[in-house]
C-alpha cells in the first residue's frame, strides 16, 4: 500500500515537474507567437496535468469499488444458484415441475439479492463507488473549465452563479407578486 502511494507520488511529481519545466521553457516563445486563447491553453497545461494525475489515483479506487461491486453480485448469484440446486433435486421433469422450478428460482434469487441490496456492506460499497465516480467527474469538470476559460467561455461555476442569481430573482418576483395579490384582495374586501 505504501509502495503504491510512493509510486503515485513519484509519477505525480515527475508529471508536475515536466509540465512546469515545459511551461517555463515555452512561455517566452508562446508569448511571442500566440495571444489569447492559445496562450491561455499553454499556461493551463499544468492544471490539466495535475487533474489527470489525481484522476489516475481515483480511477484505481473506482476500479477497486467496481470489482467489489461485481464480486458482491456474482457471489450472491452463486449462492442463490446453489440454494436453487439444493431445493430442486426432487422436482419432476414435467410441465408442473418446470413451473415449480421457475417459482423456486425466482423466489430464491429475489430473496438473496434483496438481502444483498438491503445490507450495510452493499450500501457502503455502492455509495463509495458512486462517490469516486463523482470525484472523477469533478476532475473532468475542472479540465473542461480550464478549456472553457482558454476559449473565453463561461465556466461551470460561472454558469451556476447565473442560475443562482436567476433563482434568487425569481423568488423575489414571486414575493412581490404575492404581496401585490394580497393587497389587491384586501382592497376588494
Amino acid at each position: 500500500m505504501e509502495n503504491e502511494s510512493n509510486i503515485t507520488d513519484y509519477y505525480k511529481k515527475t508529471a508536475t515537474f515536466w509540465s512546469d519545466m515545459m511551461e517555463m521553457m515555452s512561455s517566452k516563445s508562446t508569448t511571442l507567437s500566440a495571444v489569447g486563447p492559445l496562450r491561455n491553453l499553454s499556461t493551463n497545461l499544468k492544471k490539466i496535468t495535475n487533474e489527470l494525475t489525481e484522476a489516475n489515483k481515483e480511477t484505481v479506487e473506482f476500479n477497486n469499488f467496481l470489482i467489489k461491486y461485481y464480486k458482491q453480485l456474482s457471489d450472491t448469484w452463486t449462492n442463490a444458484q446453489k440454494e436453487v440446486a439444493s431445493k430442486t433435486t426432487k422436482i419432476p421433469p414435467n410441465e408442473e415441475g418446470t413451473e415449480a422450478y421457475k417459482r423456486v428460482w425466482i423466489d430464491i434469487f429475489e430473496n438473496n439479492f434483496t438481502g444483498l441490496f438491503d445490507s450495510k456492506k452493499f450500501s457502503e460499497n455502492y455509495n463509495n463507488l458512486v462517490s469516486t465516480e463523482l470525484d472523477l467527474l469533478k476532475r473532468w469538470n475542472t479540465i473542461t473549465d480550464v478549456m472553457l476559460k482558454s476559449a473565453n467561455l463561461p465556466t461551470k461555476e460561472e454558469i451556476e452563479e447565473i442560475y443562482e442569481e436567476l433563482h434568487i430573482l425569481k423568488n423575489r418576483i414571486a414575493k412581490l407578486e404575492l404581496s401585490k395579490k394580497q393587497s389587491e384582495k384586501n382592497v376588494r374586501k
Partner: protein, 353 residues
C-alpha cells in the same frame, strides 16, 4: 422409472415461448409510441415548468370543493389516466368531482436550486390560490401520491387554512421505518457531492433504484409473463402503458433531492416534527383537517411502515387509515382501485366536501 420420464409438454411450452418471442413485435405496439391518457384537460395555470391541469367535467352537477392532486416528483402524472377503464381522474370526474392535477414538468439545470420551499410555498400555494379564485371557494381538498403525498402533507402543515381535506396515497413520511432497499441506499448516500457535481438527480440513478427493487420479479418474471400473454390484446396494451410510464422519469431538482434525502431518509426530520422549510417548522400536528391515508400492503416502492405514521402524527380527529391488498401502482391504476379504492375515497370525500 416412469416418474423421471421427460414430459413432452415442456418442449411444447418452449416452442410456444419461442413463437411468442418472434411474434411479439407484430402483436404489440412500439413501447414508446403507446398512447396514454384519454381524459380531456386544459392547462389552467403554468409557472416555470409546472403545469396545473384542469380536467373537463363529465357530470352536470359537481361536488362543491375542488380536488387538487399533487403528483409525485418521480415518473409522470399520466399514471392517473393510464387507461380509460382504469383512469383515476376519470372515475373521480364521473363521481362529480372537479379535478385539478399538478404536473411538475421536467426540471432542467436552471432548476437546480428549487427546493421544498418553492414546490410547496410557491407552486402548490399558487395552484391552490388559482383554484380558489376560479371556483369561488376558500379551501380545496388535496390528494398527494407517493412523494406528492409528502409535498401535500408538508403543504397541509404549513397552510392548514387552505386545505379542506387531505388524502395521502402511499406518502413517504417516516424514512427510518421504510423497509425498501431504496432507503438502505439513501442512508449512506453522499447527496451533497452528487448535487454539487451533477446538479439535478439524474433519471439514471432513479432507474438504478427501481432496478434493485424486486429485480427478478420485476426484471425477469414480468417479461416472461408478457410473452406468455402476447395473444391477450388487453394485457399487452396495459403492460406497455405501465412500462412506458415506469421508463419515463424526469430529473429531480438538486436542492429538493438534497432536502429529501437528508430530511426524510437520513435524519428523518418530517415525522419527528423537526423539518424546516425556509425558516418555518413543519409540524404534522398542524394538520387538523379530515385526513384519509391510503396504504398498499404490497407496496414495494414505499413500504406501508413508511406511510402509516402520518395517520398517527396528525392532530385531526376525523381521520381514517385504509390498507389495501395491492401494490404501489395497483392502488391507483387497476381494476381493484376502480372497484374498491375509488368508491371508498369518493364516498369519504363527498361527505366532507
Amino acid at each position: 422409472m416412469s416418474e423421471n420420464k421427460f414430459d413432452p409438454r415442456i418442449i411444447g411450452n418452449l416452442l410456444n415461448f419461442g413463437r411468442s418471442f418472434i411474434q411479439a413485435p407484430m402483436k404489440a405496439s412500439i413501447p414508446h409510441d403507446v398512447d396514454i391518457g384519454s381524459t380531456q384537460f386544459d392547462v389552467a395555470y403554468k409557472e416555470d415548468k409546472m403545469r396545473l391541469l384542469h380536467f373537463r367535467p363529465l357530470t352536470s352537477r359537481q361536488v362543491r370543493t375542488p380536488l387538487l392532486i399533487s403528483y409525485a416528483i418521480i415518473n409522470r402524472y399520466y399514471i392517473f389516466d393510464i387507461d380509460p377503464k382504469k383512469s383515476w381522474v376519470k372515475n373521480l370526474l364521473e363521481q362529480g368531482f372537479d379535478v385539478y392535477l399538478i404536473d411538475w414538468g421536467t426540471p432542467s439545470k436552471i432548476d437546480k436550486f428549487l427546493g421544498f420551499d418553492e414546490y410547496v410555498n410557491r407552486y402548490m400555494d399558487n395552484c391552490v390560490d388559482f383554484i380558489c379564485d376560479e371556483t369561488n371557494v376558500d379551501k380545496v381538498s388535496i390528494q398527494g401520491y407517493c412523494t406528492g403525498g409528502t409535498l401535500a402533507a408538508v403543504y397541509s402543515s404549513l397552510h392548514p387554512e387552505r386545505v379542506k381535506n387531505l388524502i395521502a396515497t402511499a406518502p413517504v413520511i417516516d424514512g427510518w421505518k421504510d423497509t425498501t432497499v431504496v432507503s438502505n441506499i439513501a442512508k449512506y448516500f453522499d447527496v451533497d457531492k452528487l448535487v454539487d457535481t451533477i446538479g439535478n438527480m439524474p433519471p439514471e440513478f432513479i432507474y438504478y433504484c427501481f432496478s434493485i427493487l424486486k429485480p427478478f420479479e420485476q426484471g425477469v418474471e414480468k417479461y416472461i409473463k408478457f410473452l406468455d400473454n402476447i395473444d391477450d390484446e388487453k394485457f399487452v396494451e396495459r403492460f406497455l402503458k405501465i412500462e412506458k410510464w415506469a421508463g419515463e422519469t424526469p430529473p429531480i431538482p438538486g436542492e429538493l433531492f438534497k432536502q429529501w434525502i437528508k430530511g426524510i431518509y437520513q435524519d428523518n426530520l418530517l415525522i419527528q416534527n423537526k423539518m424546516y422549510v425556509k425558516n418555518e417548522l413543519v409540524s404534522l400536528k398542524n394538520i387538523d383537517m379530515p385526513v384519509f391515508t391510503q396504504v398498499a400492503v404490497g407496496d414495494h416502492l414505499v413500504s406501508p411502515e413508511c406511510s402509516m405514521p402520518l395517520h398517527y402524527a396528525v392532530s385531526s380527529t376525523d381521520k381514517i387509515l385504509k390498507l389495501y391488498p395491492t401494490g404501489h401502482v395497483g392502488m391507483i391504476a387497476s381494476s381493484f382501485s376502480q372497484k374498491t379504492v375509488l368508491p371508498e375515497l369518493g364516498k369519504w370525500l363527498k361527505e366532507r366536501s
